[in-house]
């Protein structure tokens, strides 16, 4: 919906004298409450929009490899960052792929396959008889080797796996007192010394535990202090019976990642089994059924390896790497029967499975979703409702909190936020207070998302929150007696309750050293009312450099009001931020700013007044644009595309239905999933071959 710029944010006509703002507005001269316009729909047909082929963003890539392979690696953490638009980093149009990123996908596919296919190495004991190994020094002596001079016996050969090993050497000496024979055990670069005091009547077994890194190829035993007594003719020699290597100790007996892929044994099952393995893996990785030709294509890697006299295992791993590099894995591919046709058509049930799982889990479908898709049970309203309930109940739905709420409510920003350590020492370099704030925001949102009773107005005013002792103390509330967050019921009239009084939002919309009513006001406009404030003009005259003594930040910002150019826009942003001035730059309650009493009252352009933040929150909660904005934000995230003017009719209907259902988020998820834009798609002119 487009709003005429001359209307104020709350829908009232701005005084004409303040219309200077129009001058800085971008292209169209209107403040678009959405984003760039798209072409008009074809007359007569309801256009439900089109989602571009969607590269998995980094959160989705990590979650997908976790669910597909069982790995705990997060390879995408180091990929070049995803770009953001419309407030989210899962917008298909914006997600691009650079050559560097492709190269990283290729490297990562190999890393992941190597980890997943690594065979478990059972612990074993290998004994090497010294007389069979021999040495340039010494001579075989029965079942042992006599090192009669300084020299070494060396076992070579690659240790199969890095890990912990026990190395045992059975040895004795012929003595030449006072010193005993000295033996050095060398494992790669590590060495250990021993005195061999035993004689042939009772040989000693020396045991050494050692951690062997990858690629170490040798273990040796050397005799270091050969001696002969010229008087007694006592001859000190070292006799070595054997060297025994046991390990790897404590290594897992199986590799569950490998077991998940190897659904049959190729040694007995041959090509039929290899085909089964590849089909099973690629079906899950590509999130759709495979054609015979798909499996044939992957089997060519087995043929290739055979031609190189390599094992089938090598060929299988190559095929798995190819699966993870193929676009059907890296992108969410949805097809149109006719890519050139703009006629809307329903998605397949497999495509619906991915839309659902990536919306609610930021990950691939699970087996139950695949089974439902296979049974054709992902297009009826009732089936979709049932799946939403199931997916939201699964712990994987925490992805909605990290990725949707994290970007909408800015909680993700807390990780990087810094507060001035001198002015706000309690914020803490250890970031623990910030962690408590994030936990509060996350748990609060989770309850709203899953609640059957709480409506979206609770986002702005609630009688509960989640606190641990640290955060309760920060808020000046009684500590609940817990170091982990617990649900706390707030007293009537509490300063807290709702995101506008949560440390998380209040902190990330502040500067390190002071509050920013402008940032707070802008966040409310953009994220609660979906009303993008106009751009500021160029060459903004600087505010006074320091807050003069005896003045509040509010006094300083009043400069915005005294300058008509500033006032036209700041009159709609700043008062919203002023309402939150009782919260300092890390969200603690305050009544003074710079020694002066806080004035948290304000008036909106229609002269509606509020006395404090709580009253302001209730005004916003009643604004009809608030539920619509929530619906729009979640739709944007669910579809992975901008919700633009073309979507106005169904967004209006969605909002009406959402409000009619008690404006519960859980219900909103269901309404979006059942909406036409979510379950249909179309081609576009200019595609195809």
């Amino acid at each position: 919906m487009r709003i005429d710029v001359r209307r104020s944010i709350l829908g009232f006509i701005m005084p004409l004298s303040l219309a200077a703002c129009v001058g800085h507005v971008g292209d169209g001269g209107t403040v678009d409450d959405t984003n760039p316009p798209v072409p008009p729909p074809i007359p007569g047909a309801a256009d439900t929009g089109r989602v571009t082929v969607h590269r998995l963003n980094h959160a989705e890539y990590n979650n997908t490899v976790h669910d597909l392979l069982g790995t705990k690696l997060n390879p995408a953490l180091n990929f070049p960052a995803d770009d953001t638009s419309y407030g989210f980093d899962n917008i298909a149009d914006t997600l691009s792929l650079s050559p560097v990123q492709f190269e990283l996908y290729e490297l990562t596919a190999q890393t992941l396959v190597n980890e997943a296919m690594k065979a478990a190495v059972p612990s074993s004991i290998n004994r090497f008889e010294a007389e069979k190994i021999g040495s340039p020094v010494g001579v075989a002596a029965g079942n042992a080797w006599n090192l009669y001079s300084n020299g070494a016996i060396t076992v070579t050969g690659k240790t199969p796996e890095p890990g912990d090993y026990k190395i045992r050497v059975r040895a004795w000496q012929t003595p030449d007192p006072p010193d005993a024979a000295h033996m050095t055990l060398k494992v790669g670069m590590q060495s250990f010394g021993f005195d061999v005091t035993a004689d042939s009547t009772a040989p000693m077994i020396i045991e050494q535990k050692v951690t062997i890194p990858a690629g170490v190829g040798s273990v040796s035993v050397s005799f270091d202090n050969d001696a002969v007594d010229p008087v007694t003719m006592a001859d000190r020699n070292l006799f070595v019976d054997y060297i025994e290597i046991e390990g790897p100790i404590g290594a897992p007996k199986t590799n569950p990642l490998r077991d998940r892929i190897m659904t049959c044994d190729p040694a007995s099952g041959g090509d039929t089994c290899l085909r089964e393995i590849l089909e099973g893996f690629a079906t899950r990785a590509w999130r759709r059924p495979l054609a015979k030709a798909d499996v044939d294509g992957l089997m060519k890697f087995v043929t290739l390896a055979r031609a190189q006299a390599d094992t089938d295992e090598v060929g299988l791993r190559l095929a798995l790497r190819a699966v993870l590099l193929y676009p059907a894995f890296l992108y969410r591919v949805e097809l149109d029967a006719d890519p050139m046709s703009e006629v809307t058509h329903p998605l397949t049930d497999y495509e619906m499975a991915s839309r659902l799982s990536y919306f609610l889990w930021s990950s691939m479908p699970d087996q139950a979703l695949f089974d439902a898709a296979s049974a054709g049970k992902l297009h009826e309203d009732a089936d979709l409702d049932k799946q939403v309930d199931r997916l939201l109940a699964d712990p994987k739905s925490l992805a909605m909190i990290d990725n949707f709420a994290g970007q909408w409510l800015y909680t993700r920003e807390l990780d990087q936020h810094q507060a001035d350590p001198v002015l706000y020492p309690t914020y803490g370099a250890d970031h623990l207070l910030a962690d408590s704030m994030k936990a509060e925001a996350d748990l609060f949102f989770e309850e709203l998302l899953k609640s059957d009773t709480l409506g979206i107005d609770s986002l702005l005013k609630s009688d509960f929150t989640y606190l641990d002792d640290r955060l309760a103390t920060h808020y000046g509330l009684p500590a609940p007696g817990s170091t982990t967050p617990v649900r706390v019921t707030l007293k009537k009239g509490s300063q807290r309750g709702g995101v506008l009084s949560q440390g998380s939002l209040l902190t990330v919309t502040s500067n390190p050293d002071r509050t920013s009513p402008v940032k707070r006001g802008k966040w409310i406009l953009t994220n609660l009312l979906c009303s993008q404030p106009p751009d500021p003009p160029k060459d903004i005259p600087p505010l006074p450099k320091m807050v003069p003594k005896g003045q509040t930040a509010r006094d300083l910002l009043n400069a915005h009001v005294s300058n008509p150019v500033c006032a036209s826009c700041h009159n709609v942003m700043d008062p919203l931020g002023f309402g939150l001035e009782n919260f300092d730059a890390i969200g603690a309650w305050r009544t003074l700013d710079n020694g002066q009493p806080i004035d948290a009252s304000g008036s909106l352009p229609d002269k509606t007044t509020f006395k404090d933040g709580a009253q302001m929150a209730s005004i916003i909660a009643k604004d009809p644009r608030f539920p619509k904005c929530v619906a729009k934000k979640m739709s944007t995230y669910a579809l992975g595309r901008g919700v633009t003017t073309i979507d106005a009719p169904w967004l209006d209907k969605l909002t009406t239905d959402f409000t009619a259902k008690g404006s519960r988020l859980h219900e909103l998820v269901k309404l979006i999933v059942k909406s036409e834009p979510f379950r249909t798609r179309r081609g576009e002119i200019g595609g195809g071959k």
Binding site: P36, T94, P542
Partner: protein
Amino acid sequence: MIIRTPRGLKQADLSRVGRRQLLGGLALGGAGALLGLPFFESLFGGSEAQADDPAPKRLIAFYVPCGINMVDFTPKKQGFAYDLRPILSPLEMIRPKVSVITGLANNPAFPDGAGDHASGTGAFLTVAHPKKTEAADIQDGISVDQVAANAFKSKTAIESMQLGIDGGGGVGNCDSGYSCAYAHNISWSSPTQPLQCLTSPSLVWDQLFSGADPTQTSKEKARQLLYRTSILDYVKDDTTTLRGKLGQTDQKKLDQYLDGVADLEAKIQKSTQGPMCVAIPKPVDGGTVEQHVDIMTDLMTLAFQCDATRVISFMLANAGSNREYPFLNGVTGGHHENSHHGGDPVKLANLTKIGTWEIMQFASLCAKLDAVTDVNGKTILDNSLVYLGSEIEDGNTHYHRNMPILLAGSAGGAITPGQHLVYDESVSVAQLYITMLNALGVPTKSFGDATSPLAKL
């Protein structure tokens, strides 16, 4: 995400040259740490190209955010005897090899409305006017480093590298309606294709040395190469088929994928003909910002030393960075906040400290490049151009004229370094880019908003 870099990888570890140069008896730049490390056969290439190209010319574009406190940057004197203002003091040791250039304008960087940081960063190397959008319809120009990369791409395994320190991300549009694509990238291979920065030292190392396993026999190596290529052939063929079933917007996305395949294929092919190059131990990600920058400049030096690439762009931070500098004595508040100084002497002093630190990183990179002798007996710095600039002039005014610029090296003697050159604001920074491209041996008549090279340089 927090990036950690390792401690302890110092200048000396880098001062090694390939076997080819070693056998030729050329100077080693302080090769104390050479001993004890195995020679790795590298992935890179162009031994054929090198034979008729004895002294490769190279380019680094080095970006710093939020402008510069110009009062403490601009030398009072012009010409070769220019004075070092406080921010430039780290250049003392290499001043004869660095020019200061002031006065040039980047007019296309002026945004539509607000958004100077994103728009200035988008135009930083393109001198084109970035389209104000936060959607898919981004539009900029090709960047000067990519013009050079296109000319040099047949000679090295990696066409060009884009490195940075900050991750991207962030919530909302990046700057007043400008896409993050403008704020997080300075290299553009085409007006619609930004090239993203790599910030992880270990991944940069992987990009440089992947497959460089010293224990592989040449037969095994050839077989692994065949396997890798076969996987790429497979995905290429099947993607081409898939592409034909998609709409045109989707096809553009898959074209990026296919470009990635082609680039990697070219890199792998060149890896078979590469000269010898010594790998340094794989760095571990993590550590402080200072350590992170240090290892990145090490890797840049190594990339040139190994002739892995000849073109690098580097972002010391993203556009309008509000990074804090608690390790700089007395500096409080974020960089961006300080840059809106409003004439406040405290903020200006902070900016001078931050600027000095930034120039120190630039000087350190130049010193590293100057410590390595190239095939023609000059240093790598002498044979290269290392360009430094920002998205705006001054953080308070958001001005896009009188841009702060340093240019180190001489592209093998093609230009004369070591001067302070002053231009009036009618001269475009794009004219400097034309001069730079010509000096690098890339004949160029027009670029950005300019159609002639710079006078005087």
